[in-house]
């Protein structure tokens, strides 16, 4: 059977033949060759398969190397981002005003908490201002694995909670916004929410300018700080003097502004009572509103600078006389001066003695159309905004007839924000160029040529009048004088409109000023809301006795800080 031949009966001899030896060799050789061929094919197949596999790997490597990683990372991060890393905010000299710091937030895992009451009770011992019932509810549902207890613990509080060693409590580091200066410039800085997203003021501006990165861990921003035009020292000096003025004259509120008349940079912007950027409840306190940029007021006689400027601009001589002895009767209304001059006054004297009748006559001389166009040209009645947000639009009179023209000439009937008023005034002082108010520090001169709104001659005349109003005792602003510095300005006392007309005992006392007058660099605006008569003021509540001396105190305090030394 070994050779595979089956021997069957009947087939013996003949049928059964011994194979030839040559045949055998031939067959073996054939089989061998066939086997070799099959082997080679198999090897080729294997090589091809391996080669393909290697090619795939190589191709994949090239693809990965060319594609890179970051795109994938963003895809993973974006939906998970829970907080925002914000750059620092610094003042014009690089002093820190707002910064992100990492704080610990207390979280709980209700699933592993066994005794909710014990946790709540013991937490109360170190965080007494927690609401016990609220905590108890937060950790009541044992199917949950996560609950916030308190976000943004101070390091000391976190340590105390940690020392309690309570099970099921943990800390999660988070970014928190810190304002080392407290309330200072609170209205300008604005507000961020619990996830560090800017909602108001400069903080919101940061978000809008895409300077804020979404992060899902406590990683600090690496972006350069935002440099404001504010000067922390000047800001504080203004706030401090305004607080002192509020106390001294029993005023309900106060506003102060220091602006570079040429660049529009705001060095200090204060509205008291102030706002703490981290106390959200204070935003709902109407008394703490930003009176500088969000409240519109009839500002009174400080408007006479516009009235005089318009007269000069249209070629009126400062020496032209107007008869202000009589009542001014317009459309059935009678305008009179508080202290009538008793003689005809020149344009200059109308400004210096702050005659309402005189201002009305000047405005009527220019006419209602011209007045409207002039105020618009100055930017007083057009929308205006800063980086800290929109400035409240001016409230224009519904009907702008002759009587409105007269009342607007001395600052009634047209309500504007103090900030917009000051910005429009800057053009009267700086030689006649339009400025845009800004809270950002400007570097170098702007490439755009300044836009002229009034002639340099008109500006010179207005500067002269403002200077004289403070320098001579005949002026209403002499109490704003500062020894060694030539300060100029205009007072304004406006009765506040209430139910059923104006309240004579309730006024806004304002002073618009500038210094040094020979080449003005800074504009000041001080408004005191509802100041009371005191012994010091002889019972008066007019701006000359309160807003003017407050301005003097502010200027003498900030001029060394601004590098202006008294002569």
């Amino acid at each position: 059977m070994s050779n595979g031949v089956i021997i069957t009966p009947g087939l013996a001899h003949g049928a059964l033949r011994r194979p030839e030896p040559q045949d055998d060799v031939l067959r073996q050789a054939q089989a061998f060759r066939a086997e070799r061929r099959a082997e080679r094919v198999r090897a080729l197949v294997a090589i091809a398969v391996m080669g393909l596999a290697f090619l795939t790997v190589a191709g994949q490597l090239v693809r990965l190397a060319m594609q890179g990683q970051p795109e994938q990372r963003i895809l993973i991060n974006a939906p998970l981002a829970t907080a925002f890393a914000r750059p620092d905010i610094v003042d014009r000299n690089g002093r820190l005003m707002a910064s992100d710091i990492v704080m610990h937030s207390l979280v709980a895992d209700p699933h592993v908490i066994l005794d909710q009451d014990e946790i709540a009770d013991r937490l109360m011992t170190v965080l007494p201002d927690l609401d016990r019932k609220w905590v108890r509810n937060a950790i009541a549902d044992r199917t949950k694995r996560f609950a916030w207890i308190r976000r943004g613990l101070s390091p000391a509080e976190a340590q105390k909670v940690h020392d309690l060693g309570l099970p099921g409590l943990d800390f999660r580091p988070e970014l928190r916004r810190a304002y080392p200066l407290g309330r200072s410039a609170g209205h300008v800085i604005g507000l961020v929410d619990i996830d560090n997203k800017g909602l108001q003021g400069i903080e919101r501006y940061l978000d809008e300018r895409k300077n804020v990165e979404p992060v899902h861990g406590p990683s600090l921003s690496v972006r350069p700080p935002l440099r404001l035009s504010l000067d922390v020292a000047v800001q504080f000096a203004v706030e401090d003097e305004l607080a002192e003025a509020m106390r001294r004259y029993s005023a309900a509120a106060a506003v102060g502004l220091i602006m570079d008349v040429n660049s529009g940079e705001i060095f200090a912007a204060a509205s008291l009572p102030g706002l703490d950027p981290i106390v959200i409840d204070e935003r709902f306190d109407k008394n703490r509103m930003d009176r500088l940029a969000s409240g519109t007021y009839e500002l009174g006689s400080i408007f006479k600078t516009f009235t005089a400027a318009l007269a000069f601009e249209d070629g009126m001589s400062p020496q032209k006389r107007f008869d202000v002895r009589q009542l001014l009767e317009v459309e059935g209304y009678r305008i009179r001066d508080l202290h009538p001059a008793g003689r005809p006054l020149t344009v200059n004297e109308i400004f210096l003695q702050s005659s309402n009748v005189g201002a009305g006559l000047l405005a009527l001389n220019n006419g209602q159309k011209r007045q409207k166009a002039f105020l618009k040209e100055l930017g007083l009645t057009t929308p205006m905004s800063t980086e800290a947000g929109n400035i409240a639009p001016a409230s224009l009179p519904v009907r702008w007839g002759d009587i409105e023209t007269v009342t607007i000439s001395y600052g009634h009937g047209l309500a504007v924000t103090p900030l917009q008023f000051a910005t429009a005034s800057a053009a009267l002082i700086n030689g006649g160029y339009r400025v845009k108010p800004t809270f950002l520090r400007k570097r170098g001169r702007s490439k755009k040529p300044p836009e002229r709104v009034i002639s340099s001659e008109t500006s010179r005349l207005i500067r002269q009048l403002m200077r004289e109003n403070v320098a001579s005792k005949a002026g209403t602003g002499w109490r704003a004088a500062v020894a060694g510095l030539d300060v100029g300005g205009k007072t304004g006392t406006a009765e506040i409109a209430g139910v059923g007309g104006y309240k004579s005992k309730s006024v806004i006392a304002s002073f618009i000023g500038a210094f040094p007058m020979e080449k003005p660099r800074y504009l000041t605006l001080v408004c005191l809301f509802e100041p009371q008569g005191t012994k010091e003021t002889g019972g008066h509540i007019t701006a000359g006795v309160n807003a003017a001396p407050t301005t003097a105190r502010i200027i003498s305090r900030i001029s060394p800080l601004l590098g202006l030394l008294p002569n």
Partner: protein, 101 residues
């Protein structure tokens, strides 16, 4: 042929060991980088807190209070000295301290 094979095997083994070593070194370096990054982050957080604390301590109302308690007051006229220097053309000019600002 046999020599070639031996050399190839030796090279394979050699590169395997090298790769192994490099791999471990890389992991070590990656750990090191991670550790350093962590310490950098910690340092940056600490710096942020210290900067905020310094700004809080140096806030004008606090400095002003302390300065007044020490008998200091805002600068007044007469406290600023004048000095005279040569300008680039060699002319003597009188300046006041603070003018250079």
């Amino acid at each position: 042929m046999r020599i070639l094979l031996t050399v190839a095997v030796a090279m394979t083994l050699g590169s395997a060991f090298t790769l192994y070593a490099v791999n471990y070194e890389t992991r070590g370096l990656a750990d090191d980088v991670k550790r350093r990054e962590k310490s950098i982050n910690k340092a940056r957080r600490d710096i942020a807190i210290l900067k905020a604390e310094r700004a809080h301590l140096a806030r004008p109302d606090r400095i002003g209070r302390h300065a007044r308690a020490l008998g200091l007051a805002p600068a007044k006229r007469g406290q600023f000295a004048t000095y005279s220097i040569s300008d680039p053309t060699g002319r003597r000019v009188t300046r006041r301290l603070g003018d250079e600002r």
